[in-house]
């Protein structure tokens, strides 16, 4: 039998567009867990079809305003893989630096605000 229910109606870390509900029995067993994302779909996979290779990074950075860099670097790698482009070590290191700094920003941001 459920003894405790933890309910979060909107999770700040997914921009308030997700909810979680957990039912726990008196023995500490999770009986029911529901995770809901109600962010409206934006269909990036669909409208990217027909766009030019050099626009992909710019467009995918708008998937998420909290972590645009991750989407940018992933998009670049996808395009490079498709076209067989090998990047220099310098470029790879610069991207790593950018990814790490974006991560520091995100963690600091979450720690300060939420």
């Amino acid at each position: 039998m459920t003894e405790k229910t933890i309910k979060v109606d909107y999770i700040a870390r997914v921009e308030g567009q997700g909810a979680i509900s957990i039912d726990i029995t008196k023995y500490g067993k999770v009986e029911n867990l529901q995770f809901k994302i109600f962010e409206p779909p934006r269909f990036f996979e669909s409208f990217l079809v027909g766009r030019k290779y050099d626009e992909v990074m710019e467009l995918t950075s708008r998937i998420c305003g909290i972590c645009p860099v991750a989407h940018q670097i992933t998009a670049l790698r996808a395009v490079e893989n498709a076209m067989g482009i090998v990047i220099s070590n310098q470029t790879r290191d610069l991207r790593k630096l950018m990814a790490i700094s974006a991560r520091i920003f995100r963690v600091m941001f979450s720690a300060c605000i939420f």
Binding site: Y10, E15, R51, R62, G65
Partner: protein
Amino acid sequence: MAKKPKIGVFKLTGCAGCQMEIFRMEDEFLDLIKLFDISYWKMAKRDNDDKDLDIALIEGGISTPWEIEEIKCIRKNTKFLVAFGDCAIGGCIPSIRNWIPQMESEEIVYPDPSKICSTKVHGIGEYVKVDAELKGCPPHRKTILELLKSALLKIRPRLRQHPVCVECKFQGNACLITSNKLPCMGPVISGGCGAICPTLGRICEGCFGPMSNPNASALANIFRDIGLNDEDIKRKFRKYSGMSPEFRLEAGH
């Protein structure tokens, strides 16, 4: 002291990038908290109250039936409603799919589209009266500050109406269209970013949306002269503001 203005920040179909820009006002953020009563902002706080707002900043466009209800409800509860960023103004990048049949989009992304409830993307102005627009994807923090300061002083905010080119000239850049024959959108795009991209040698892609009264067809002709075909031109205008009345023709409506 007079009662602090109540402010609400809402997210509809957007990426949270506009809201992040408020957090990025690092030097002013603490003053903002002091001067405004932030009564609704799900991304930043737990207890939220959306009643009797003086200002509502709306990030994101409308793409679901319940967002139509939500924006009407916010409008009823708000004195001054701001379309905060390109998504709220005209749908922005997600609106590129407005040219693709809805079912086709859904089938590309979801194995079972029967669970998806989504419409074409529109700006909030399709459904409610909007009192101010903050252009940009995302708007520049200085513009947000200008709007909030004006609200405190109860004066009209000075929002930029000139094109990116003006700011590009202030930076002393050589023009990418005339010198390099590159298809820069600067001449029809609203200023406010400080011409970041041309200053770094990249063409302006148009993320601040149309300036006031732009001559889009003349720029399309220039693009044709420097070698773009009709499809290229459509793609350029159908990116951040394809749904705007200013770019409608060039975006291929």
